[in-house]
Symmetry: C2
Subunit: 487 residues, 2 copies
């Protein structure tokens, strides 16, 4: 395949036509793949081909074998986890990035990649109303951004851990991280990786709205310090994964500042909503945080992967991670060599797709899409609230609704513990039946030890009719199971 005989362009046109057609109606496929475990493995040869194969054969296999094994995140009725979608133009940005094949490890290895990162993250910072004191860096995932923030928090303690490590030292107290049961698991993973240890990740109590109780955080920190631990970092979430609850960031900032504890804000999902003036409050206390993670690949219309970490002190990141290397010696002063600001040396040119997305939609276009998603979620919550036997079980300020079918509790008037367990099995059966239709895909979570269904809206193709269809299917499957005997 070369440009010279036209074969590259022919193949490219074939792919462009496929993607155009796909975008015309991704809803034609079952949302959740119906592939069985091992099916693709069995369908493919066990060895790479000895001789090269023509594009037509590879692409035919893509259509025949890969597409049926795809769970369609682009389907307008993908309501699981956090629903996402990307501006179509970002596919072109990703193709260009792959064609240029830049490794943006150093400024000089493509100045435009580093500087476009600075420009687009400056745009985003202002869109979110964050102060210019924050410096943004692109990582692949919130997992890495959160890990990096924890690493910086550890370095900020001045305990010489970079040089001396943590093991075999009698002078080091155990370091403590504060979360809630609703904090995303990547924080705990990061704490494990950094040698903090799971037992030193302290779960602070939440209130009725699933938000951290600040007085409980203050007490946990003070108790820990009295017990000889070193409180290192508190994590506030803006838009938790289960319910999109938001921790009291401002109160957490005040009490962590008084106590010399790093405040990290995980706004991976919720942060983008601060683009809306009516949701600017979401980041209120975050303005004063030490670090903030925002995921454009969640709710700002770029494809995975692109996560942003904003920090007040980028030099601290550099001190945490930078190492001299004889091959990678640099010459320019006053530039950022972003390989020095994190674990990863290799860095794709990710800012390109963010630039394409922000310019294509504009701030007003992004606002319109976010408002639409939030409005759809509010309407769904209204339908659920109005339906006998169904209950919305958590506040739903953004685009996620948690709810539950509770005919037993409702029927008995006074809920009994065993009713809850019965309803768990019933809700699971309803969800599995609904997902098995291929028409929608939703996921569940647990709240107050009960299984809860969850619909997340975030795809720009999702319409009122799509949400309505999900709701109709849920009620249909519930009706089919109305007699407890059916459970």
């Amino acid at each position: 395949m070369t440009p010279d005989d036209g074969s590259f362009r022919t193949a490219f046109d074939r792919v462009a036509a496929w993607i155009e057609d796909y975008y015309r109606s991704p809803g034609r496929y079952p949302v959740l793949s119906r592939s069985r475990p091992g099916e693709l493995i069995a369908a493919l040869p066990g060895e790479a081909p000895e001789e090269g194969e023509p594009f037509e054969r590879i692409f035919a296999d893509f259509e025949r074998l890969i597409v049926p094994g795809i769970t369609h995140w682009n389907h307008p009725r993908f309501f699981a986890y956090f629903a996402i979608s990307a501006a179509q133009v970002t596919v072109l940005a990703e193709a260009l990035a792959a064609a240029l094949d830049v490794n943006a490890m150093l400024w000089r290895t493509s100045p435009a990649a580093t500087e476009l990162e600075d420009v687009t993250l400056g745009w985003l910072r202002r869109m979110l109303g964050l102060p210019d004191a924050f410096h943004g860096i692109v990582y692949d995932t919130a997992s890495i951004g959160g890990f990096t923030a924890l690493a910086a928090a550890r370095e900020s303690l001045g305990l010489d851990i970079r040089a001396r490590g943590m093991a075999g030292r009698s002078d080091l107290p155990a370091l403590r991280v504060y979360i809630t049961e609703h904090t995303h698991s990547h924080i705990e993973k990061g704490a494990i990786a950094l040698g903090i240890g799971r037992e030193n990740v302290v779960t602070v109590a939440v209130d009725d709205a699933f938000a951290m109780r600040p007085e409980a955080l203050a007490r946990a920190i003070d108790d820990d310090r009295a017990a000889g631990f070193r409180p290192m970092c508190a994590v506030a979430t803006v838009g938790t994964t289960s319910t999109t609850s938001t921790d009291p960031v401002a109160a957490m900032r005040e009490l962590t500042r008084e106590r010399g504890v790093w405040l990290h804000v995980d706004a991976a999902y919720g942060g983008p909503a601060a683009v809306l003036p009516e949701f600017r409050w979401l980041l209120d206390g975050a303005h004063e945080a030490d670090s903030i993670v925002i995921n454009p690949h969640k709710w700002l219309f770029v494809p995975v992967d692109l996560s942003v970490l904003y920090v007040r002190d980028p030099e601290l990141l550099r001190r945490t991670f930078s190492l001299a290397s004889d091959v990678l010696v640099t010459y320019e002063s006053g530039v950022h060599n972003y390989m020095d600001y994190g674990l990863q040396l290799g860095r794709r040119f990710r800012a390109l797709k963010l630039w394409f997305a922000l310019r294509t939609f504009g701030i007003s276009g992004i606002q319109a899409r976010l408002r639409n998603h939030i409005a759809l979620a509010q309407e769904l919550a209204g339908w659920i609230d109005a339906e006998p036997g169904w209950n919305v079980v958590a506040p739903h300020p953004l685009s996620v609704v948690c709810f539950r079918y509770e005919p037993l509790s409702t029927a008995s008037g006074q809920a009994q513990p065993q009713d809850g367990a019965g309803d768990d099995a019933l809700n699971l059966a309803i969800m599995d039946a609904v997902n098995a239709t291929g028409e929608v895909f939703l996921s569940s979570t647990r709240l107050r030890d009960r299984l809860v269904l969850r619909i997340a809206i975030g795809n720009e193709r999702t319409t009122r009719e799509d949400v309505r269809l999900a709701w109709d299917l849920l009620r249909r499957e519930a009706a089919a199971r109305r007699s407890p005997a059916v459970v």
Copy 2:
């Protein structure tokens, strides 16, 4: 931009035409971007646009502002760091992956993404002659793969670090990692992150060919154990960054096994050469290692990012990183949920481009390209060796040649220390002048405390004429500086 009015396809065609034209002659651009620090930042607005912009305007800015800020990794005379290039078909794979926008965190979130990863990494394992006992997982970079291997090594110690952490424990010895001065810096970064500490990364002596001395490793481990340290992991490199030297993996395996120390093999660059029967020996001892990193985005013709970690015990990785999550609860048994095998929850569908590349080139096509790169490097080394005043300064078994212009040392017959320093400045001046032409881009390293020039060949478009041009430019710039006064 939508598929319905044809605007998406029009934009896609514009991008396809640009990429086709780019691939026709990436050599038309200066290799190293001539952009000045801050130039792109100054050229772009400080705020995102309020209203969306048409594609034509965005793409015009891409051509006008971004392309001049690109250092062209695709240029046939990019000889810096490790030169790389991707099969053109992989651009189509990346476009498809972006269009599908799959997060391959769980098997069910796209079974094909997880299973194609298993299939292609099985193909690669057999191409490299590695035993089936190895299980491969795709990560973004070798930095993450190496970090993950070190994390698994730490977990394998049975010291309960996952739960209890490393700080504030009187029962933990300092953990030690063994490298050489030529080991890639990501290992040291990983050790910093994991709380091992830089001081516990022990630099073992190398021989005249820049390979670790196994007896020095044995002594370092034994001395450490006697001193109360806990030897954790030794890192063997197959193809170091500076010179492509290879550590004695088999000897290292034998002595680390006897001593209960994890052996990690960083074959990020050198590993792919084992696809050639005549270089199968490169991975000889690696067959017995605990973990191996191979970078298809270096020398196996896929674009960044795609790095592979092979481990003998994937269950250990899962034990290191997996955490239950209520939203991400899974149902299928006997499948891999790869979010449980590393730090990152979010995972792009990276296997698709590897599948496209391996099938398009076939094993024989990959072998032909690697052999060509190696032959070009050998020919270059011959030219340098034959030229008075120039010296090849390291073995060059693969596609990288390290060399130096040493007129002072050569002229005086007996090299003096101050001659070396003078030659350092001279070689740096020659490199900067050559790079400033825009015709080639090469980088330097340091060997035995001397600055050394380095040409890495890895782009599939690189011809004998390209290498010749680089050599001609080097000699021209050296001749222009022949009088020491010019330095």
